[in-house]
Amino acid sequence: MPRPTSRVPEPAKRDQGPDQGILARATGARVWKDHSLLLWAHFLVPPVLAALVVAATFATPLLAAILAAAVLGIAAFSARGLLTRLSGAEESRLALNSQLIQSQKLAAIGELSAGIAHEINNPIAIIAQEAEWAAHLVAEAEKAPGADFVEVKDSLREIRSQVDRCKNITHKLLDFARKREPVLQEVDVARLIDDMARLVDKEASYKNVTLVRTLPQDLPSLRTDAPLLRQVVLNLMTNALHAVDTGGRIEASARADDQALEININDNGSGILPENMDKIFNPFFTTKAPGQGTGLGLSLCHTLVTGMGGTIQVDSAQGQGTTFTVRLPRRPGSKP
């Protein structure tokens, strides 16, 4: 039988946490050493008890009844346990699968869009050059008496501004697809978050939005790529600022456990529509009006965080707000 766990992404395989154990056991993929005793008990205890019931029937019916009740109880208990584990395993398998599909999808879209951006850059450059040349010709022709090229000049200006817009998008895309090798430094994350928050403060005050920092004094430092993390934090905060209404509230917090340092950016905006939750990290996905955003901010965050060996997740409740959670491993290379 093919192992059903073969689609589990690589980092998860190394992890032998409770989920993985349950997953392996319930799907019959592999029985870990520490679970084998339990499995034996599952199979051996019921028949032993049943044998006792049969034996007791010959001695005294009362003992037989008590034993039979005990057997039934144990059977029901273990059946329930098995069911819980099975459904738990199925759930975590589905979650792992969808995570994997999500990251593969993002990688594919990223590659595709970088390819297109690269191809489109050349014609855009030619259009820009031709527009420059046409502007030069118009300027020459304008020297003739009675010449009026106001509209032509307007239209040329528009061509140039739209070309700039295209260039902006293609550059962002190419930048997005660029492989960044993180440079690891000791980073004071609390300070980093506060620094980026100060950049957002003023803009937030225009909107009458409060940006709260909840940063524990004893937050440990982290070996990570400082400018990449700044980019992620700043992008998430900006995103939150766009999501809240006037008078809203954003909270940036951080905490650490043994494995990971976790950064949360929470806002009390209108939340993300359930049908948009799957697309939120897709490049070009945006709910803003055309021209207001390229829809690359969150997908960039996803790429950067994954590149740093971490995970990024979103939780959102309609009308209550959204929380983005970034988890970065405290030991590089380990699981966050």
């Binding site: 962002k172 930048d175 090798e181 440079v183 690891l184 430094q185 620094d195 980026m196 100060r198 950049l199 957002v200 403060d201 003023k202 803009e203 400082a226 400018p227 700044r230 980019q231 700043l234 992008n235 900006t238 600022l241 960039l300």
Partner: protein, 132 residues
């Protein structure tokens, strides 16, 4: 090892104060008054860290940053901004700036960031050498 720092700002008073303050710490600091002057300066001398004002007449800080990152990818750039503009901040970080410092500048804070930027540059240079 000395950190070779270039400060790019059109505010003469600010630059003079900074040259003095870095001088006291035995950290020589070169300065340029515009983006173009900075690029010219960088073409002759090598710098580890550039402290770059966002708002300058002529070539602005972001355009200068773009060119610095293209031509000297190992040099780290710290952006300096008086008006905390979020849009410029985002663009700066996305263009590969190392960090931001808001004006009025806390000197120790700036110094610390310069040291961190220099550390990164050295790590990066080492990785490049190994990769080559």
């Amino acid at each position: 090892m000395d950190i070779r720092i270039l400060l790019v700002d059109d505010e003469v008073d600010f630059v003079e104060t900074m040259v003095k303050r870095f001088g006291i710490r035995k950290m020589p600091l070169d300065s340029a008054k515009s983006g173009q002057e900075a690029l010219d300066e960088m073409a002759v001398r090598e710098y580890d860290v550039v402290i770059l004002d966002v708002r300058m007449p002529g070539m602005d800080g972001l355009e200068t940053l773009k060119q610095i990152r293209e031509r000297w990818p190992l040099t780290e750039v710290i952006m300096l901004t008086g008006h905390a503009s979020l849009e410029a901040g985002m663009q700066g970080m996305n263009l590969g700036a190392y960090d931001y410092v808001l004006k009025p500048t806390d000197f120790d804070d700036l110094l610390d960031k310069v040291r961190k930027a220099f550390e990164r540059k050295q790590l990066n240079a080492k990785a490049h050498k190994q990769g080559a």
